[in-house]
């Protein structure tokens, strides 16, 4: 990519400009984003379905989160499509539309419409009940908006199959994919930095007991792990420091090309584990999905034409 015939002095601004262009604008293959689309849609369906059982009790005409409660609670500039759903039937209709949007996103049918629709409906339900949400919901919002930017339906999708059936040329690398992947990557690092800074304001993250307090006070606790931690200071300390060290390493290390692959692979295991320990597995899965944006070169690429599976390095 950069075999220069002659060595010329390059100014800092030129170097920065080249790096900026490569990071944000170098066309990227759509397969990594397609993998992220599928994982995001699965997470979205899981989180969306968590509203089903209590939808009317929360947002229905006689629900807990009445329009008056919401108006007092909601932040300025917050808007929601669910505001228009004032009857039980209309509430189910909007909710059903969300299910359809996430299902379309999962299979990649009408992705250019499904992605923005899922994103708009998702932030709508968050604005409708802001007192019900957790960290996983925030992360899903980020994932969805980035999918709106990229061409996530170009691969591993029904859209791609339909395109092949019509004999249309498969789309090549796209700048939109690069923008989406880079934004996802920046958010993965930024969210981790913000989280680790917040954690390090607490003494328990320094004295090594945070892992215990993650589990203590929970309705459902893994009793055997708690018993092991109760019996061993070192185990508790080890778990606590491992979480902090991983987060610091991930936030900074993904910017170093040589460490990126290992950290993303570690993140696929570590993020869900941290999520599980903190009682929010969905958040951990969301963070692992965000982290995948840093691994476009290492994501499996399925060749559609031959029918076989091959591991091919993506564009760097």
């Amino acid at each position: 990519m950069n075999s220069q015939p002659t060595v010329e002095p390059v100014s800092f601004s030129q170097q920065f400009g080249t790096s900026w262009n490569a990071f944000w604008f170098l066309p990227a293959d759509g397969r990594p984003l397609a993998v992220i689309r599928i994982l995001t849609a699965v997470l979205g369906l899981v989180l969306w379905s968590s509203y089903a059982a209590d939808l009317q009790r929360w947002f229905g005409p006689d629900g807990v989160v009445s329009p008056e409660v919401m108006a007092t609670w909601r932040r300025a500039y917050g808007v929601s499509l669910f505001d228009a759903a004032t009857t039980a039937a209309s509430l189910w209709a909007v909710y059903g539309l969300g299910f359809a949007a996430f299902a379309s996103l999962l299979v990649g049918l009408g992705t250019p419409i499904a992605a923005p629709l899922a994103a708009v409906l998702w932030v709508s339900i968050l604005h409708r009940g802001p007192m019900l949400i957790g960290p996983a919901d925030d992360v899903l919002a980020i994932l969805l908006w980035c999918l709106v930017i990229g061409r996530s339906g170009d691969h591993l999708s029904l859209d791609a199959r339909l395109r092949r059936a019509r004999g249309t040329t498969p789309p090549g690398p796209s700048v939109r994919n690069r923008l989406a992947l880079s934004l996802l990557g920046v958010h993965a690092s930024g969210i981790t930095i913000a989280a680790v800074l917040a954690q390090l304001k607490g003494d328990i993250w320094w004295d090594g007991t945070a892992a215990w307090w993650l589990l203590s006070g929970r309705e459902h606790t893994p009793a055997s792990l708690m018993a092991a931690m109760a019996a061993s200071d070192y185990l508790t300390n080890l778990l606590t420091h491992a979480i902090t060290l991983f987060e610091i390493a991930f936030a900074a290390g993904v910017w170093v090309a040589g460490l990126r692959g290992s950290l993303v692979a570690l993140g696929i295991v570590a993020w869900p584990l941290i999520g599980w320990l903190s009682g929010d597995l969905a958040w951990g899965c969301g963070m692992a999905t965000l982290g995948l944006a840093w691994a476009p070169e290492t994501v499996c690429r399925w060749s559609g034409s031959a029918g076989g599976k091959s591991l091919v390095a993506g564009p760097g």
Partner: protein, 220 residues
């Protein structure tokens, strides 16, 4: 955005495949603004508060478009500080004069797990006096009661927020069920269609009253 190449004629050029300079310029400007907005939302939504400068710039320039998109976020996921508000919370609503436990409704239901149950726990956590902002205190207990007057067949309800006890490592008993302790309680009643939130005097642990006569060793 079109991926129109600025250096299409020379595929080996560093510019090959990149959009035109004008497009890159506009997108870069937007990216710079967005990243600045993200930095300000992280700084402005931290649990430690925010400076007047940060909150003013953020609320005037960025919140109007970042809030609707659910992007005005602090991401300060501390996971835990080992404080009472980090424990799981539940809400129990029952008639004020209830005598039987069966009349109480608990959210989430005892033993329930999963994301929906976690949403109830998050909602219940907002009843914790340490967490709830002053301007919305009392709003959720009233709303909970209003939605349950008919179901419970009573116009006078007790809304309790309970939290799971956080045992120290030294006192942990793996065989014991997690214990619940009361975080707050409210009384909500409906009188002639008007819903009232009544203050409830919390019972606190006090020293036993000892009469001077029986206290043989002390002086009154």
């Amino acid at each position: 955005m079109s991926a129109q190449s600025a250096g299409k004629s020379d595929p080996k050029s560093p510019q090959a495949g990149l959009p035109s300079e004008t497009v890159r310029g506009f997108v870069s400007l937007f990216l710079a603004l967005y990243l600045l907005g993200c930095a300000l939302t992280v700084a402005g939504n931290s649990g430690s508060g925010a400076s007047l400068l940060v909150s003013t710039v953020k609320s005037r320039l960025f919140s109007p478009w970042m809030v609707p998109l659910w992007l005005d976020l602090g991401f300060d996921y501390r996971l835990t500080y080992g404080q009472l508000d980090d424990a799981d919370h539940v809400i129990v609503v029952e008639p004020w004069d209830a005598t039987a436990e069966a009349q109480a409704i608990r959210f989430p239901a005892a033993g329930s797990s999963g994301i929906a149950a976690n949403r109830w726990r998050t909602l219940a956590g907002w009843l914790e006096p340490e967490i709830v902002p002053e301007e919305v205190a009392g709003l959720l207990p009233t709303a909970m009661a209003e939605s349950l007057f008919d179901q419970l067949g009573s116009e006078d309800l007790r809304v309790r927020c309970l939290r799971f006890a956080m045992p120290e490592r030294s006192t942990f008993d793996a065989a014991a069920e997690p214990a619940l302790e009361q975080a707050t309680v409210a009384r909500v009643r409906r009188v002639a269609g008007s819903v009232q939130l009544l203050p409830v005097e919390e019972q606190r642990d006090v020293a036993p009253v000892v009469s001077p006569a029986s206290d043989q060793g002390g002086t009154p």
